[in-house]
Structure formats: C-alpha cells, structure tokens
Subunit: 244 residues, 2 copies
DNA sequence: CGTTTGATTGACACGAGTCAACACCAGTGG
DNA sequence: CCACTGGTGTTGACTCGTGTCAATCAAACG
C-alpha cells in the first residue's frame, strides 16, 4: 500500500541515513494495513502498558510525554511521519512513558508485532536501519537535554525549529520552506520546559527577527541560515546524509 | 578474570533486570583484558571519532558530554561500573558526543569489537540483556529531560541522588547507605544545568534537611524515603527487578 | 611555602514564572 | 440568529528562582 499515493515517510527516513535496495523498500510498503486517523490529543499507549502492536506515525505529530506530580506535562520527544513509537517495549517489558498524538490530522498505523519480527528477520538491512533509527532518537534526546540545560529560551526554541525543519525535510514534508505544524503554544511550552506566556513572547521575538512565521498550523522558515546561526545549530546528531 | 576478586559490575547490572544462566556469566568474565586506570578528567572518545574498541566502566565514573559554543559543558549521562560507553557507534558511524572520565580512581576496560561481536552471536541472552541496557539508558535520558525541564533545582538534585543511589546499589557499590562519589560541584552543575554557586547552595539545603551528606568523595544517603518523597522519585524508568 | 583547585558566602541583576485580564475564533445549543 | 462556551493567543505588572561577579577560605600539591 502506498502512503499518500506517493511517498512512504518511513522509507524516506531510513533512506536519509542508510543504504536500502528496492527489495528492502517493498517490505515496509506492505505493512501499512490498519490506519487510524486522529484529531486532537489522544493517548496511544500509556505508561505501564505493554502493547501487542507497534505504532508508526504516517502523518501529523505524536509525542512521548510524562505527567509530573506537580501537574506539568513534560514532552520528551516529537514523533513525525516515519517514526516508530514503541519498537522496543517488547524488551523492556513495559512503557515508562506515554505516547500521544498532538494537533490535528494525525494518521497512525498499528502494525502487529509478528509483522515487525518478520521484517527484522528477513530484511537485515531494514533491521539495521531501524536499529539506526532508535540510536538517532537517543542522540536527539541528548541534544534536547543539552539544549534545555544550557541555553536561553530564544536559542532553545530556535534550535527546536531548526531540528524540526531538517527532520521534516528528510521525510519529504517540507514545501518551499514551510511545513505542517499544528501544535499549540502550550504544546511548545511542554516541549521546551517554559511557561505558555514566555513561549508566546519568545515566538514573537523569533518572528520579529524575520527567522520564521507560525500561523494556521504551518511553520515557514524564512531564514534558515540566520536561524541556525542564532541557535548555533549543528545537525550532526541527526546523522542525516542528505544536506539542506 | 574476576573484577575486584569478587563481583563483576557488568554481570550485576544485567542480572538486576534480566535472567542469565551461569554459562552466560562466564562470557563477560573473560572479556576484561586491557584495564586502564585513570585519575581526573580525561576524554576517552571524542565527538566525531569512530573507535575500534568498546569501553566499559569497571569502577569510578565516566560521563557523556558536549561542549556548547557558549563555553558550557553539558553532561548528558553518568556512566557507572557496568556501563558500556559506546556499544553503538558501529551503527551510527561516528560519535555525536564525547565520553570522559570524572573524578578519581576510574578503571576502564577496552574490549575489541570482535569480542563483543562474538559475545552477541554466541550468547543470545547476553545480547538481549545488552539491548535492554541501552534501552534503559534511553529511559534514563528521558527522565533527566523531564527532571531538568519541569522541576526546581532542589528537587532536581534530590532526584539525581535517588537515581545514583539505586543504580549504584544495583551493581553492588553501596555499603551502609554510602557510595563512592568523587564528582566536584562543578561536575554536578554541568549535569543539572545549574551554576556552581547554586549547586553549592542547593546541596546545603539537602544536607540541612537531613537527607544526605557529601564529603570526601563519598555520598551517604541518610533518609532515602524522605529524599525520594521530596524528589517525587519513581524508579520505574530504571527497569530494575531488585527493589530497595 | 606559593600555587592551584574546589567549596563557600554575599550582593546584585535578570530571565522566566505567575497572575490576571482581554481578544479572537469555532462550536453549539436555545 | 445570537448568546454562551471553551480553547488559544496576547499583553502588562509583579514576583522569584537562578545566574553573575567577586571575595574569602580550606585543602591538596609540587
């Protein structure tokens, strides 16, 4: 089954960091059977659960988060088209965080674990590529940690937009510098560890510098070079072969 | 070769979350050939490198860090006895961060990649246990991210000490509530994303509450229950079977 | 011994949180 | 058709946690 009649974001993603043959590409194409469309925030898997199916984002956004005892939601990862949500829960035994959708028009595929096992067994290059993907996730986590700990809010936010721009581009979701971004300022606050009010002001600052616009569920990067310099963004940690 | 003549921290660690047979335990025991002893801070592998050997911490501390453009050092993980430093660089191609020792009396083993491959091939339970260990690392990273983003400095620091206590306990490095902890307050600052001055004051606060002491390269947890409650510490993310 | 590294303290500045009010828009139901 | 609602974005005033700067002190060290 073809996604959107054109590109499969999972394939795009794996290609951006790995070498795959045509035969490898046919494997994942056949997986996408049970597609679910979700609007708004909905939990897909909760902390403590041990799901029987693996979730893959086809379009829109999902996230990993934890609810803190003080009532705050802490978002620890953004999942975009081509990202697996819970490839590894089989080994760890249970989820130590919750997966949820964000924004509108999210399409999720539920893939039976058997199908994944089959893929890993018969497509060693795919298996390695998926292993690569989880390691990139870990690198991204480290980058977020450094970004959050040691940078002021404006650079931190600029860094996030640089990352999302490159990640969306790597899966073919960027058109003319713009990409779908239906997250609210509250979502951004929970990602960056800031208050909503401060997110609002920081966004205005970035807009004022002419770096980007964010309106109608769409972000447009108007000056990537300037934004990247301001954020001191170094895309090494994404391990992409494709350069912008 | 036996470590310390008694326990091998790697075995201890893997046992704390997995089921291993005696046969599995003999494998890693034979790996520890080339042991290096290091005092103070020294880089083991730098960002951009692609090492031919895998590093394992036997005693003391190592860390993952990045130098930020603004001169700050951001520490993104603490590696304690039994932790691998760079098991995965073979897949990603190159390191996206630097590994360094911290404090004194650090003992590191360098293991040829071939030996690891052999272990992974002939000891499937070990392979799974190592895969488990990297997933736990990722969970820890998420917990640090949530911890840093959404908690005040005192709870954040309390949380760190709770984690280190449980991790050290899981590898048999805790005696009577105390464990070796040779990190300076500057190291702590770079872990928590705080200034040195504020680390100092926050430490005094925790001492003042009677939770712990930190002196002469040793941390002693005097009231773990109180500390854990104060930090709202939930050890789920460590995926340990052993309870305190 | 001087030198260096790490711990400690005080005074002050500033970034970011909190509280509160208001504007805007999309539903939605009477 | 319009009041009412809830979600989101925006703004101002004020507070407070943390950073910065600077000085001092203790211990380790060559």
């Amino acid at each position: 089954m073809l996604i959107d009649g054109t590109k499969n974001p999972l394939i795009e993603k794996l290609l951006s960091g790995n070498t795959l043959l045509q035969d490898d590409r046919d494997g994942p194409q056949r997986l996408c059977s049970e597609v679910v469309v979700i609007d708004g925030r909905r939990d897909l898997i909760r902390e403590g659960e041990e799901p029987e199916e693996v979730h893959l984002v086809l379009s829109g956004y999902a996230c990993r988060y934890k609810m803190m005892d003080n009532g705050h939601r802490s978002i620890m990862a953004l999942l975009i088209p081509g990202d697996f949500c819970d490839l590894n829960v089989a080994i760890l035994g249970q989820m130590d965080h919750t997966i949820a959708t964000l924004g509108s028009h999210t399409r999720i595929v539920r893939i039976p674990r058997d199908a994944i096992d089959e893929l890993l067994t018969h497509h060693p290059r795919i298996a390695r590529a998926l292993w690569w993907a989880t390691l990139v996730d870990e690198g991204t986590l480290r980058e977020w940690l450094a970004n959050m700990g040691r940078r002021p809010a404006d650079q931190q936010m600029a860094h996030l937009f640089c990352e999302m721009f490159m990640r969306m581009k790597a899966v073919g979701q960027v058109n003319d510098g713009g990409f779908f971004f239906p997250l609210s300022q509250e979502d951004l606050a929970d990602i960056l560890g800031l208050s909503i009010v401060h997110v609002n002001r920081t966004l205005q600052k970035l807009r004022g510098k002419g770096f980007l616009t964010m309106a109608e569920k769409e972000v447009t990067i108007k000056d990537f070079a300037g934004l990247a310099e301001f954020a001191t963004f170094d895309p090494n940690y994404l391990h992409l072969r494709v350069k912008v």
